[in-house]
């Protein structure tokens, strides 16, 4: 039941309106739902990740760089560059099927959990990374994908 109301909440039209009345706490709360559904299985409930496989979400290099974080969620990550001196061998798939609102929320949640204390990520910031030219176009079609699941 919760899931259904959650999905219908984020229809293409409501996203924009809702974003206007966001408070940080609301965003964190919604972000936790997205996190538990999409990210938890790899990064763990406490964000500590899995040694050698999935990195912890407490690494300053990433937490301090909103654009990088947004881009990792949208495009995935398979760099296999060492993070704090350890390689993480899994591949993180792209999650471009999440809406801009969902990505803003989940990153706001991550940036305010697991001991992190960093600013919120806004829908506009996600949109700017997703489609630098025309921000609105893509999130609509992605919502269609979302509904099919």
């Amino acid at each position: 039941m919760k899931k259904i109301s959650y999905i219908s909440f984020f229809t293409a039209t409501s996203i924009y309106l809702f974003a206007q009345t966001n408070t940080l706490q609301d965003s964190i709360k919604r972000g936790k739902v997205v996190y538990n559904k999409v990210c938890l299985s790899c990064h763990m409930a406490d964000g500590s990740g899995v040694p050698k496989m999935n990195p912890p979400l407490t690494v300053a290099e990433y937490m301090n760089d909103k654009k990088k974080m947004i881009s990792i969620v949208l495009k995935g990550m398979n760099d296999r560059i060492p993070i704090d001196d350890e390689y993480y061998s899994n591949a993180m798939a792209p999650h471009a099927d999440l809406s801009n609102q969902q990505i803003a929320d989940v990153l706001t949640y991550v940036r305010n959990s697991f001991g992190n204390k960093a600013g919120a990520v806004s829908v506009a910031e996600v949109a700017a990374v997703r489609t630098p030219a025309k921000p609105a176009a893509k999130s609509v079609s992605n919502n269609t994908i979302n509904k099919k699941q």
């Binding site: 938890l40 299985s41 763990m44 500590s48 050698k52 995935g76 296999r80 390689y87 591949a91 798939a93």
Partner: protein
């Protein structure tokens, strides 16, 4: 502030004692090194503080070689000998490469990096004669960072078997991406996702010199040549993320339990079916993978049937058939499995982090598997929170079982005292 100081103290004492016998651990040793074991067995910590100790092997005099997943003071292989107090004493370290596989056969020590296999000639005490100049037996194996470790086993016929793990979860076009289709036939299987056989004594062999001995194995870390059956046994790491990728077919509980982690007895030419199928120990069937038209129920008779099927995601990293006489009869010719412990059971509780045992009779599993040694993880059973994670297994010349931990580099010795 108080926490900080305690933390620093802990850290510095850890560094001081790292790699040395730890006096404060005597208490722990009286307590079977924190492990729970069947009646009559005892465990001691014989070495600790070496970081990522992957596979281990013992010499006939009780010396132990360890292959490291992370260099220790710049070296990837450690050699210990037994000291008077029953611990292991580090006597030399060599090989500037990380890796997993290590084995002694025919007067040589074999060791693998993530792309190559080397061998070092041993003297009559089974000590490496020239640590700086190994022979390169195999080269050019695929390392695409996912399932990149190469485990090795040798038979009595001058062959070496090498696992080459698939650099993928389920052979999707985009690895682990929901909705990304899987490829059929899976092109990964040409050069990975199986066991390759090479000659144990020829130099510079590449793919073209070896044969693909068995295929359809996603990733094998624990494997052993069973001298009782004269055949290769392997432990497969089953695929992840059934729920993440197919939430409409699998809830988080099913996804935590499935697919089975399988033990296979491998004969030349066998196909265990990854990525097309997985095994379900709850219904004892080979189930068509959802990427390949499955619905969580549809099954097939094709492909190899496992010898033993364990619950999902336990991550079997070590396999050792017990051929010694120290342990009670029940253990003779049976299999010990080191389960590294799960991560892909979240949000359900994690599982594994123990050494299991399967009794064997006449070369076949005979009875249910059981947990043999538990408690490696300590209070927190999670991949990051676990204190120790069992990885490698080896049998000592006196019949004791050695277990390595690749989280903090502890080596345990488990013995039976009647």
């Amino acid at each position: 502030m108080k926490y900080l100081i305690t933390g620093l103290l802990l850290l510095s004492s850890y560094q001081l004692f790292a790699g040395e016998t730890h006096p404060s651990r005597n208490k722990k040793n009286n307590d079977n090194a924190g492990l729970t074991l069947p009646a009559g067995f005892t465990a001691t910590v014989v070495a600790e503080g070496y970081g990522s100790v992957r596979h281990i092997t013992l010499t006939k005099t009780g010396g132990l070689y360890a292959k490291l997943g992370k260099l220790y003071k710049g070296k990837g292989i450690l050699y210990f000998k037994q000291s008077a107090d029953g611990k292991l004493e580090l006597v030399s370290s060599f090989g500037k490469y990380i890796g997993t596989g290590i084995a002694i056969k025919n007067g040589y020590l074999y060791a693998s990096s993530n792309t190559e296999v080397f061998r070092y000639k041993l003297n009559d005490k089974e000590e490496v004669i020239d640590t700086a100049n190994p022979e390169k037996i195999i080269t050019g194996l695929l390392d695409r960072h996912e399932h990149e470790t190469k485990s090795i086993a040798l038979d009595n016929n001058n062959n070496i078997y090498v696992n080459i793990g698939a650099y993928s979860n389920a052979c999707q076009v985009e690895d682990r991406k929901k909705g990304s289709p899987s490829m059929k036939p899976c092109p990964i299987l040409d050069s990975a996702g199986g066991i390759w056989m090479f000659k144990a004594d020829q130099l510079n062999q590449t793919y073209k010199d070896g044969i693909r001995y068995a295929t359809g194995l996603r990733n094998v870390v624990g494997l052993d040549w069973n001298t009782a059956t004269n055949s290769l046994f392997v432990m497969q790491h089953g695929r992840d993320q059934l729920h993440d990728l197919f939430p409409e077919m699998y809830d988080t509980k099913q996804s935590a339990e499935l697919p089975s982690e399988c033990m296979y007895e491998i004969k030349k030419g066998d196909n265990a079916g990854w990525p097309y199928i997985y095994y379900d120990h709850l219904v004892n069937k080979k189930i068509i993978a959802p990427e390949y038209g499955g619905d969580g129920k549809k099954s097939t008779d094709e492909y190899l049937t496992p010898a033993v099927a364990f619950p999902g995601h336990l991550a079997p990293n070590g396999l050792q058939f017990y051929s010694a006489k120290q342990f009670p009869d029940k253990y003779k010719n049976g299999a010990f499995i080191a389960f590294h412990g799960s991560w892909n059971r979240a949000p359900e509780p994690q599982e594994g982090y123990y050494v299991a045992f399967v009794p064997f009779k006449n070369g076949k599993p005979n009875g249910k598997w059981e947990v043999f040694a538990n408690g490696f993880a300590g209070a927190t059973i999670s991949p990051r929170g676990a204190e120790h994670r069992p990885c490698g297994l080896a049998q000592g010349p006196d019949g004791s079982l050695y277990v390595s931990d690749d989280s903090k580099g502890t080596i345990y010795k488990i013995s039976y005292n009647k």
